[in-house]
Amino acid sequence: MSDQYILELKNITKKFPGVKALDNVNFQLKAGEIHALMGENGAGKSTFIKVITGVHQPNEGEIYLNGEKIEINDPNDSKALGIAAIYQHATSYPHLSVTENIFMGHEKIDSRTKRIMWGDMHQAAAKHLQELGADFDPRRRMSTLSVAQQQIVEIAKAISTKAEIIIMDEPTASLTKTESEDLYIITEKLQKIGTSIIFISHRFEDMYRLADRVTVLRDSKYIGTWGVNEVSNKDLIKAMVGREINQLFPKTEKEIGKEIMRVENLSRKGYFKDISFALNEGEILAVTGLVGAGRTELCESLFGIKEYDSGIIYFENKEVEIKEVEDAMNLGIGYLPEDRQEQGLILDWELDKNISLSALDKISNRGWIDRKKEKNMAKRLAEKVNVKARSIFNLASQLSGGNQQKIVVAKLLTSDLKVIILDEPTKGVDVGAKSAIFEIMSDLAAQGYAIIMVSSEMPEVLGMGDRILVMRNGEITAEMDVEEADQEKILEAAMKAEK
């Protein structure tokens, strides 16, 4: 690693109508380093990345590449300068082959006949993949790959364009532990061949494992840059949140009450099989396992999104059927979906209409909507969940990710719930909001609500759960009280080798 800066941004300010998304931000990337960029949601990381990749142009400030002042006017400019970005959700062509994805825009073409040299391209693609330790066939369709594999393809694409600076935007957010481990190794390989990397993540483990230095943004401002080894976890959190967080998992003393829900031998062909468990009032049941173990599918069936094939559900000791969402809602089951934007909100709609959508019968009279009731309900709930918005007529798309999430929570509050299902409630959420979510969860449990929390994050499973269910391949492989649980036991149950 040399001390020369390959990329330097000075006093970058970017204004959008009404807001400063970046306020005088500085950033220096050394050649060959892995530089973590951290900050809460809405701190300005995404905008900052978009300035580097040329999606946005800064209003003020200067950008230097290898000491030379440059301007990046559009994404093609940044590509030409050797800057590539890899996003959490790969922005690929799902119906084309891996090779086509890697060489999109710079295909190998025979100079004489102008034909695409497929053989050469497949070979080169295979070689790139091999360098990255991946062994899948480059002829495969992109959509048949896992998220982790798709990311590898994106990285291979960056290599094939000879990118010198690679930006990774929350690459580990939807990866399992082993997949993350593979990604670390790949990232280190990239570093070895001289690539400089900007790595954005909410996970401290990512940063400690990979990064040489870390830069923190908060409220659109530059807070500081430190060597990873010089800064304590606590100070870093303080830099990101602006205050100290004493306890990430605020578990309160509480009584676990009587059984509210019991599931016996619930099955849905191809997704989960013979699931049995009981859920008590005031209890947080953590459901964990690898991505694809059938956890989300199970929750979707409990909420009536996809019907189960067989099995019995008892609710308050009565046998019930949950065939559609309305059945679940009538029982008092609420669901916070994993993908807030896609599953939780209508982004083009105002906040009032978003909030009332799951409670239309409460704001209507024989099917006629009462706008006054609707507005009052929306205003009350939006204030309750502390949404940062001026008016209930703001569009959901105008809010930041964290505030959008609050609107989804406000939707849950429209009905009288007994059981709350939270699917990866902290996914893509910054550390400050995380502790707020956990606090609310603890409060709710203490008030007697039963909570099912799906999570892949080991610390929060162990920190928040009262009981833990581990799923693998659609079956429950272990059930344990939190006192007897530890990371090894859970991992073993989650990954048990198949016979």
């Binding site: 909420f303 999104i305 559609e324 969402v325 309305e326 809602m329 669901y335 979906p337 896609e342 599953q343 939780g344 909100l345 209508i346 982004l347 083009d348 709609w349 105002e350 009032d352 209409k353 959508l357 799951s358 239309l360 019968d361 209507s364 099917g367 006629w368 909507i369 507005k375 009052n376 929306a378 205003k379 009350r380 709930l381 939006a382 204030e383 309750k384 969940v385 502390n386 949404v387 940062k388 918005a389 001026r390 008016s391 209930i392 007529f393 569009l395 939707k411 849950l412 509050l413 009905s415 009288d416 719930l417 609310i440 409060d443 709710l444 008030q447 609500y449």
Partner: protein, 336 residues
């Protein structure tokens, strides 16, 4: 009413619940532009023909185009879903032909009319079921297939003949007047338009239609019965096609298997010009109503001065392209 869940939460945030009136937003609505076009067409028409601008002509003219306008009302719902139904022309033909054949076979006219409506409902229901049950098939593909299918059945039933001879009172639907002034079809359409307006803009049913058109997954997670509502709307579209068949058959006096061919495109043009986006979730009934009368009076006026129908088609096509372009440029990001 606060519920138990809410009580634990207390923040002191104040969020506005009063809408601020914004003059610019108010006048930037698509409907104002449609209103201008509407007025411009009447000015043009009255310049073209001295007989145009009087109450009788204006009222009579509605008889020439309001039959298909019934379908535009329900098609608005379909297009707000982001779907489309191109089988409506064939549904008109099928229900009309079956009605005529049954009447000629001895069924009483009121019963034949009921059967006609039932045929429309069934045709729409079949579209709906196929679209809801086979998610991998798009509405275009499903209704393209049934468009061919329904028309094919109409041809098998009647071959290439005409059937008619309806009782005198049946003509009243297409040609009758109330108080010797207002066409029956205009009254019927006005009633239907009010009902559809209220359904779309004032009821939870309409709200759910917009919700599905914007994001069907989020709608499902919010407890909206997406499949049921889609099924209802497609069935309704079939019913409205049968209703249009009644008025059209009455107007024509007889029917043929090729009746109402190309109807689907006229109907879709009315809806799209009305500001309903084919990508779903946007559009208002007022716009569709204005656009129905714009296209109708434009055709009527140009027809009065013997502009060939091919030229009229070119003009309507151009109007449609321009309006879609303008609405994309001006209102690309506006909801509803």
């Amino acid at each position: 009413m606060e519920n138990k869940l809410e009580k634990g939460l207390t923040f002191n945030r104040k969020i506005k619940a009063e809408k601020e009136f914004n003059l610019k937003d108010f006048f930037l609505q698509w409907e104002w532009l449609l209103l201008l076009i509407f007025i411009a067409i009447h000015i043009m028409n009255s310049q073209l023909s001295p007989y145009y601008l009087n109450t009788y002509t204006l009222l009579d003219a509605t008889m020439t185009f309001l039959d298909k306008a019934f379908i535009a009302l329900s098609m608005t719902f379909v297009i707000i879903f982001g779907d489309i139904d191109i089988s409506v022309g064939s549904t008109v033909a099928l229900s009309s032909v079956i009605m005529a054949v049954l009447y000629n076979a001895g069924l009483s006219m009121p019963l034949a009319i009921i059967v006609c409506l039932l045929v429309g409902i069934t045709a729409g229901f079949i579209n709906g079921i196929l679209i809801v049950k086979f998610k991998e098939l798009s509405a275009v593909i499903v209704t393209l297939s049934t468009m061919i299918l329904y028309r094919g059945i109409a041809y098998i039933i009647l071959e290439d003949q005409a059937a008619g001879g309806f009782p005198m009172w049946f003509n009243f639907l297409g040609w009758g007047y109330i108080k010797n002034l207002i066409p029956v079809i205009l009254i019927a359409f006005s009633v239907a338009a009010v009902i559809f307006y209220l359904l779309l803009h004032k009821t939870t049913f309409g709200r759910k239609i917009y919700a599905i058109g914007n994001n069907d997954i989020a709608s499902l997670f919010s407890g909206v019965k997406v499949d049921k509502i889609k099924l209802i709307v497609f069935t309704l579209n079939g019913f409205m096609a049968a209703l249009a068949a009644l008025f059209l058959t009455s107007k024509m006096g007889s029917t043929r298997p090729n009746i109402a061919s190309g109807y689907e495109l006229d109907v879709i043009a009315m809806v799209v010009l009305g500001g309903v986006s084919t990508s779903g979730g946007k559009g208002r009934m007022i716009g569709v109503l204005l656009s129905i009368f714009i296209i109708g009076y434009l055709r009527y006026g140009l027809g009065l001065v013997n502009v060939p129908s091919q030229v009229i088609l070119i003009i309507i096509g151009a109007l449609l392209i321009i309006s879609v372009l303008v609405s994309n440029l001006l209102y690309g990001n506006k909801s509803e």
